[in-house]
Symmetry: C2
């Protein structure tokens, strides 16, 4: 039956104790029965027994039950409406059918919990109406090509409808007469399953999240109706070849680290049919050990979704609306299932933040853990998430300081991420103290607001949000990566050079030579804690190489108010002009320009820009300004007649007519602005110098920081850039030597941070 999960992944350390669990399980669950016992999908009979007891005890679960019951009691008194489908997404019949599956699911669950027939009758009556309507339906009048539905304009919605509805049917199955079952199964359940599978082979066999919804719907139908054939095709594709189907989807849609290449915004959506069907498989075919499949790929997918977040919100990678976070209902379900399997206490912390108790057996376990104040703290830590089904198409790197709301760097060296991908190779984001500091625009979209392009992606999603200049990465000659062509983007990806993590520092480097013809650029980032410093520093080296001369732009999109620069700026005060003509540049107003080295003619080439975030902290970006390096200060909002864009601020480091160039910079969080308590601390940077040298494989970054006693400490950060397979990094026996100030230093391993005493 259930076996222990030997989880390799770091955050799921606790192992389910087989003996302890088994001893709690009633015999009917442990025994393999030939006739299906209902319910048999996400919730089983034993779950129902414990839930019925729990709703009699005070606690979170009872609260959630009471609230849900009020809601269900309200709507089951309303007339049942099963309209003939006519509207597209957002229209009346579309929304009605969406509501109906939700209502059937909740009423079915309420029947299991209360055993009151009114709830079962409601589901029955609605299903009977569907059973009458469905056989009469042609394809939906507003259907889209290739993925068509009958109840809905898209087959995707039809599959989602079925995933919920089959669970509702499972809940009330035992309350129905044989005749009623026959009517419902022959009128609606089997026809929908047939429509989603045999009649929609393109979607059903497709290795894509739309396919996952379809296979989940059909496979779960197979379990409830005791039709193993449906389960088989769901798992292996219509011809049972294994070229498509749920198992192949598990093989290919996630990287070995559980990263989904469209990013977390779409990952949490894709996750739901995976975990729901898998839970049903675990229930009915435990011998498959589905959650252990491909080294626990589903549990990795769940935890990676959780970990691709900061302060409860997902990192906005690719097309992503920023307010989406870990409390999304899909992740609530996924986390509850993961907890049910692993009893991993860390997940209680996530469930607490999600603040949403599910009326399932796993939901009950979480509710009880929260009620009992079980100590838990999700161990967010630095991680590399390899991209690509084989883990060889770049990676997403998350560097974290280990404290709540402490610093996080997101370094995106992933593959393109299909149609929702952005042209943002080797971009980064920075978070601190709960807030975005160096940010990504996310998607340009006002979801479901009719006045804003019908609530769909705005035109500016293409003209701005996807363009390279909208990200914190290299733009060559004012054009986007892959010339903004998705196909070229999908065909290429960056390569990881290395990833290293220890208690003092997290470092990573990646390289790409396909984003631009004849241009290679490597980016190396490091989040480093200095011995005497409160906040860590972020180091950033962008090393560009081409055999021909280009203009290189490196934007930093910062959140906050510009406080100061250590160089003179030349501002446009009475007139603003758009910075460029195309590829996103047409949306940037040019507010000021500066050439720090040339203008100031200082021996020091340190260019510093300080801003103040709404979180009350200061951030200084220090960079080495070569004499040709220009700084442009921009504000978003040009060519935006519909006021579709947020008016955010950026600065761009620009070098023109260069073949090689290194952009070297340090980001430093510092101080506090507290106008309420009327104090301001450390409003200026402590960094006083910054130098960079490349010595063969070794980067040598030296810098000085002001100490508390107002003297300067000198540090050298030496990094070895030799390429290493990510999973071999730990065994890395690099030996290195470099020169600094005419003195030779040597070290072993990926990097060394030295404090130099004069």
């Amino acid at each position: 039956m259930k076996t222990s999960y030997l989880l390799n992944i770091k955050t799921l350390k606790r192992v389910v104790c087989l003996v302890a669990l088994s001893s709690l399980m009633p015999i009917q669950v442990l025994a393999v029965s030939t006739a299906t016992q209902h319910p048999t999908l996400v919730v089983n009979q034993q779950d129902v027994v414990t839930m019925r007891a729990a709703i009699k005890q005070p606690g979170l679960f009872k609260q959630a039950f009471t609230e849900k019951k009020q809601h269900v009691d309200h709507y089951i008194k309303q007339p049942i409406i099963v309209p003939i489908p006519v509207d597209a997404g957002g229209g009346y019949t579309h929304e009605r059918h969406k509501k109906n599956y939700q209502h059937m699911y909740d009423a079915g669950m309420m029947y299991q919990l209360t055993q009151s027939p009114v709830y079962a009758d409601y589901v029955r009556d609605m299903l009977l109406q569907y059973a009458v309507l469905y056989p009469t339906l042609p394809l939906h009048p507003k259907r889209k090509s290739r993925n068509e539905g009958k109840l809905f304009w898209q087959g995707l919605n039809e599959a989602v409808w079925m995933v919920y509805t089959i669970q509702a049917y499972d809940f009330i199955y035992d309350s129905l007469s044989v005749e009623q079952r026959k009517q419902i199964e022959s009128g609606i359940i089997l026809p929908v399953a047939d429509f989603l599978s045999v009649q929609s082979p393109h979607t059903f066999n497709k290795v894509h999240n739309h396919g996952t919804w379809a296979t989940a719907a059909v496979g779960m139908t197979g379990f409830v109706l005791d039709k193993p054939e449906l389960v088989e095709v769901a798992l292996l594709d219509l011809s049972k070849s294994g070229k498509g189907g749920f198992l192949r989807q598990l093989d290919e849609l996630f990287s070995p680290d559980g990263y989904y290449n469209e990013g977390p915004y779409y990952q949490r959506y894709a996750l739901l049919p995976f975990v729901t069907f898998a839970k049903a498989i675990e229930q009915n075919q435990p011998e498959r050990k589905i959650f252990e499949y491909r080294n626990d790929i589903l549990l990795k997918a769940i935890t990676s979704t959780v970990e691709l977040s900061y302060n409860g919100l997902f990192f906005p990678l690719n097309d992503a609306i920023k307010s989406k976070g870990i409390d999304t209902v899909e992740l609530v379900r996924a986390v509850s299932i993961a907890y049910g399997l692993t009893n991993n206490n860390d997940l209680i912390d996530i469930a607490r933040q999600q603040d949403h108790i599910l009326l399932t057996g796993d939901g009950l376990k979480l509710a009880q853990a929260i009620d009992q104040n079980t100590p838990s703290k999700y161990a967010f830590d630095s991680r590399v998430f390899l991209d690509g089904k084989n883990g060889d198409e770049g990676a997403l790197v998350v560097m974290r300081q280990n404290a709540p709301n402490a610093q996080a760097v997101v370094f995106k060296a992933t593959a393109q991420g299909l149609g929702h991908g952005h042209f943002d190779k080797l971009t980064w984001q920075f978070y601190d103290d709960g807030a975005e500091i160096v940010s990504d625009y996310g998607a340009a979209r006002f979801l479901n607001i009719e006045a804003k392009a019908g609530g769909r992606y705005l035109p500016e999603n293409i003209t701005w949000a996807k363009q390279t200049v909208a990200h914190n990465t290299l733009v060559v000659d004012e054009t986007s990566h892959f010339d903004g062509e998705v196909k070229r983007g999908n065909a290429n990806h960056p390569d990881m050079v290395f990833y290293h993590h220890d208690d003092t520092a997290t470092l990573a480097s990646a390289v790409i030579d396909t984003a631009y013809n004849n241009v290679t650029f490597e980016r190396t980032m490091a989040l480093v804690t200095l011995p005497k410093s409160q906040a860590p520093l972020v180091f950033d080296i962008v090393d560009v190489d081409s055999s021909t001369a280009h203009q290189y732009d490196l934007p930093v999109h910062y959140q906050g108010q510009l406080i100061d620069t250590n160089f003179a700026r030349n501002a446009s005060v009475n007139t603003l002009k758009a910075l460029g003509e195309a590829n996103g540049y047409q949306h940037l107003w040019l507010r000021a320009t500066a050439t720090p080295k040339a203008a100031n003619d200082k021996s020091s080439s340190l260019a510093q820009i300080t801003w103040l975030n709404d979180n009350g902290r200061f951030y200084t970006h220090s960079s080495i300004a070569t004499s040709e390096q220009q700084y442009l200060f921009t504000q978003l909002g040009a060519n935006d007649p519909d006021f579709n864009l947020r008016n955010e601020n950026s600065f761009i480091q620009r070098v023109s007519g260069a073949k090689q160039h290194q952009f070297v910079s340090v980001l430093e969080p510092h101080g506090e602005y507290n106008p309420s308590a009327e104090y301001t601390l450390s409003a200026t940077s402590k960094l006083t110098s910054l130098n960079y040298q490349r010595q063969d494989d070794i980067s040598v970054i030296s810098f000085q920081m002001k100490t508390a006693s107002d003297t300067d400490s000198t540090y050298v950060l030496a990094i070895n850039h030799q390429q290493t397979k990510i999973d071999a990094e730990r065994n890395n026996k690099l030996t290195n030597s470099f020169a600094y100030n005419n003195k030779q230093y040597s070290f072993s391993g990926r990097y060394q941070l030295l404090e130099i005493n004069k």
Copy 2:
């Protein structure tokens, strides 16, 4: 001794029960003693007895004590430093002397609570150092004219130092030998008192908050040293004439409603010496009934400060930094003293929000009330705060819906507010769901950030923040009220026309004819709940009249993203230009223009502008667009080379070459945008028409709203504008009649809201 407080003000209904209180008081407090018992200022001996008991019991008070003790224990181990004063504000010696008084106060209190001599010794040793230093000091080298100090560059700081230090001295008085007292009193206490009074007659006698700090310092010194002479001059001025001094300050610095004409940002600061000295007077001369003085003016000043806030933050009136709120330490002290006097449970709610327990007798009472979960809810309600010492210089009107974070309208028809006043006669602000919706810029200042004009008010505070166009009120010919002259502003004020409040609506109207030569404008605002509507509507009528033609601008500074307008806009897409040359207009970029009526040539003249606030709600501003009425869409940030301004958005209704004009508009909160849960509700306005007529004294506003069943309801709001004294409004027996659609209607009272059935 203590007598009952017969409080008229609404929020302080509970009356202290004399008998009950007396029976709890030990005899030594009730008896008038000739020799002073220490401590004798804000904290008395009985307080000390109860506090000593409380720190032995678990609870908030003990927590606060433990934290404070840790802090004090840390710094009393450091060497005492009493430097020769050399630095101006923010400099080392300035900050050191500020820290010293805070340290002495806390250590003195710690002595009272623990009776451990180490704390008393620390205060003693520091005072002895001051006693040696002070007599040697000349005037401060960085002194400012007219208000000079010795320890500090400003006499104001010297007075604040003394207010704290005399309390510290009072705390340790009993631990000192007669000789030590003599040294301290002759070396520092009396010389400072003398410096603040006899040697600084201009400040000491001034009816101004600087004078209050000085009189409080000197008067409290009189109590501690048992020198009634000092108390007398503090109360009545140096010549005991009563032309200055604390009592005269109480007479003049607040309006009869407790409004302080600089606004709440400065009011909370001014409040501290008032309540501290008053508490000491109450302690030592209870027969003065100081808290009953001028109809409880001090309690009114405390509650009005609390009530001039939304969601915990003060309304940004005049020069105000927006993050300042009710948790400011000055208001923490004031609220505790008010609670100590009145036992008004409403204040517990405020104390809970302040989240700061004071180590005083009153602080203990509040801590215990919070520990015991005493039910309390501060009754924020609509209020009019008359301005001017006689209550006849306009008013600040706050209109509120009665629910947490519900709508609030601030209608500012106050006097200028001296040097920190803005040229913003009859401006308004709107709040909803915890957020600013129609906003005021507040002060242009980054407090204490050196890079931003030394942390002082920015140049843009004058060129933008104080100018009329920076507010939501009428600008004539692109010039500011009173031509931006403070003196003219102080010499004039608006007049209230009426104020009315009942369960359905709050209405107010005010008029001014001195802001511009030969131009009179009356503004009438109403916050009205419709029978079938969820959110209330805000009505706004600005009625301008001149005998000569002018350009009239009426800006709305909105917080959020523009979603839609129901008319075409002509946007600047490649170039932005500043809207004007001066008076704030030079800081506005012109993003778009529109002439809705002319452009669309519609029969309907309804111009609608919808934006989305970060709080997730939509707001539609609907106005009657006459054919000449132009709409300008602007963004702040032109002529701002130092990036000093926030880039906020506004639209301006503009009429050119007109003598009379009525701007009539309605603001409507609606719907919800929830991209996290993926739904959007009611993104469009329900208002479908708006008409206005003035019939003699009666405004007749008719409008239609879409109902749930998608039909229109027609409403008429009729308002009588007849001027009435504010406090006579309740007895108002207005009778009115008006015509609508050729039908005659009549009503009595200030207004009527009718739903018209066709």
